[in-house]
Amino acid sequence: MKILTGNDLKTGAVIWWTGVGWSLDVNESADVGDHGAALAAREEGAQNVVGAYVVDGEKTAEGIRPAHIKERIRALGPTVRLDLTREASNPAAADWVI
């Protein structure tokens, strides 16, 4: 699947396109198919996102997993500070990222 991602203008937080808006949770990502570039341009123009781009991903039983490690780290947070990630209470959170 193709996932659209970028950063929130105000906070810089990593966000993922859900089909109707933006989410902090990669698991809510929509498959944008061939429409990623057009969506990115529209959403950037509307100030909803900064630096939007399309990445490859895969829908698994555990959730949506970006194909590249860089995007997986973006989805979770720094692997060396799990306390600062989206899964701060899960000591095994980095397992699906690395």
């Binding site: 950063n7 203008l9 105000k10 906070t11 810089g12 937080a13 990593v14 950037e44 100030q47 900064v50 630096g51 194909a67 590249h68 490690i69 860089k70 780290i73 973006r74 947070g77 720094p78 692997t79 060396v80 500070r81 600062l84």
Partner: protein
């Protein structure tokens, strides 16, 4: 240390107000990201992997306790309770909100700090010897000259849009503690045969994807021509540095392609021309600046005795302190490399504690080192045990300076949008593998540096052992390099062979240290043994 005059303060305050308005216009939709990006970068604000990152300048690595305290407060108030000290003697915050940035900059301005020119193709923060003003081996304190260059390079209208970023280091001792020859311009303050102080210029050094050691381009520049000669160096680069290819745009490429002699010829020609122009500030300005750097009021009766009965304290003193030019005092370095920790990171509480200790025991001064540690430059020996105890309680007493545990590491793929691989986990595993004090003492000085991409923010080219993280078909892979050095014997490390996994590179380093210990002669460091026996014995042990 230097104190802003009304012009300095006005410049910084004006920039804060200007950026506040730019942020307002961006948030209101009046500026696009393409329009805004160069503006935020000029104020040190990057968009990194997880959030905005703010890089705050620490000119020549010098801070007072009020500044350091504020750095801790910013970490608490605007970030997530910590800061990251960098290889350019700066500090970075990883979780900054755009809308908070003008307020942060305004708070920094109140303690005479800013984030100006910490990004972009301009002259960046001037770096220096972290022991400046305290080192027993320096000719003069290099910081007044660094400050003069800071003032010259700040908002210099001709050099705000250079072909690429430009980094200058200034030192004043034979021993190079600032990787001076790996800078775009490296300056060593020297004394000539007539006893006059002047500047020795090196140009065209750097790391990154094409590492180069800067050649000497002028042996002696008189103090009343320091800025004029610097201007000539920059002008030739600005005129002929490549703008068509960012990978070939640094001055090192220009000097290399022109050849050192032709670059020097052009600089001297430009210098001769500039000498006819009244651009050099009067020496009185340098004297005004120097007056800010007079040494602290040392206790001339301070005792040179040090009670070393506490074995942990003794180890720390042996490892983390250096001789001071004043009897009865030492230079103490706080390692930000605890076993298994993140190199260069300090919590807000730790930052504030170091500020307080500096205020109470180091004449209100601290330094940030390019090796991502903190220095108390002037500690009375009689106070050292008290300082150490406070550091120990705060987890800041790691006795590993310049050993295998004192690793330089860039933020890598855990934070940086340019990185190809993570650096920090590798540093953590190495530091744990070699965590025992006995092991580190046995191995001795071993400078290990890790970069998560070819941009080399982790200085891997200059490591006795360097590690470069690369992306190999979507997987992290680590190349190992041996033989780099950043000191008086500056050399560039060479790749030893095929890369490794994260665990594999840690194993390889362990094998390398075994080869070193088996072949070491006398007091040889790892680097010395490597230079004597060459790469083959290491390759044989590592690759079989």
């Amino acid at each position: 240390m230097y104190k802003y005059d009304e012009y300095d303060q006005q410049m910084v305050d004006t920039r804060v107000a200007e950026f506040r308005d730019q942020v307002r216009r961006r948030l209101a939709g009046d500026l696009t990201e393409d329009q805004f990006k160069p503006l935020r970068l000029q104020n040190g604000l990057y968009l990194q992997l997880h959030a905005y990152m703010l890089r705050v300048a620490v000119p020549y690595g010098t801070l007072n306790s009020a500044q350091m305290t504020l750095l801790g407060d910013i970490a608490d108030k605007y970030d997530r309770g910590y800061g990251h000290f960098t290889t350019r003697q700066n500090i970075q915050y990883n979780w900054i909100k755009l809308e908070d940035t003008p307020d942060i900059l305004a708070e920094l301005a109140k303690v005479e700090m800013h984030a100006i020119q910490t990004s972009g193709n301009c002259i960046r923060n001037i770096s220096s010897d972290q022991f400046a003003g305290a080192a027993a081996d320096e000719i003069v304190d290099p910081r007044p000259y660094a400050e003069l260059l800071r003032q010259w390079s700040s908002f210099h209208p001709e050099f705000l849009v250079l072909p690429r970023k430009f980094k200058i280091a200034v030192i004043a001792s034979e021993k190079d503690r600032a990787a001076m020859r790996l800078h775009d311009i490296g300056i060593r303050m020297v004394r000539n045969d007539a006893g006059e102080i002047g500047a020795q210029f090196y140009a065209g050094g750097g790391m990154g994807r094409t590492p180069m050691i800067a050649p000497l381009i002028r042996d002696f520049v008189p103090l009343d021509q320091l800025i004029t000669f610097s201007e000539a160096c920059l002008r030739v680069y600005n005129r002929y540095g490549r703008r068509d290819n960012k990978y070939k745009a640094r001055i090192k490429i220009l000097v290399h392609e022109l050849g050192r002699d032709e670059y020097v010829r052009q600089v001297e020609e430009e210098f001769a021309h500039l000498l006819t122009q009244p651009i050099e500030p009067p020496l009185a300005e340098l004297e005004r600046i120097k007056a800010h750097f007079t040494g602290p009021a040392y206790d001339s009766a301070a005792s040179d005795d040090l009670d070393l009965t506490d074995p942990d304290f003794r180890l720390w003193v042996e490892r983390n302190t250096h001789a001071h030019k004043q009897a009865g005092y030492v230079i103490a370095t706080v390692s930000l490399k605890p076993v298994g920790g993140i190199p260069g990171d300090a919590t807000a509480d730790q930052i504030r504690l170091m500020a307080k200790l500096a205020k109470d025991y180091s004449f209100d001064e601290l330094r940030v080192t390019h090796a991502q540690n903190i220095v108390f430059p002037h500690v009375k020996k009689a106070d050292l045990y008290t300082v150490w105890q406070a550091l120990d309680e705060a987890g800041l007493s790691t006795a590993n300076l310049d050993t295998v545990g004192d690793i330089i590491a860039c933020p890598g793929l855990d934070y940086c949008s340019l990185a190809n691989a993570r650096s920090i986990p590798v540093a953590q595993k190495i530091s744990e593998r070699f965590g025992s004090a006995k092991r580190q003492a046995e191995i001795g000085e071993l400078k290990l540096k890790i970069s998560g991409c070819i941009n080399a923010c982790g200085h891997h080219h200059a490591g006795h052992i360097g590690i470069l993280g690369v992306d190999k078909k979507g997987l992290e892979n680590y190349q190992l390099l041996f033989g780099g050095s950043e000191g008086a014997d500056t050399s560039l490390a060479k790749i030893i062979g095929p890369g490794f996994t994260e665990d594999g590179v840690v194993d390889a380093i362990e094998k390398a240290t075994e080869v070193y210990l088996a072949n070491k002669q006398g007091e040889e460091r790892f680097l010395d043994t490597y230079r004597r026996i060459g790469m083959d014995p290491f390759k044989e042990a590592i690759y079989g």
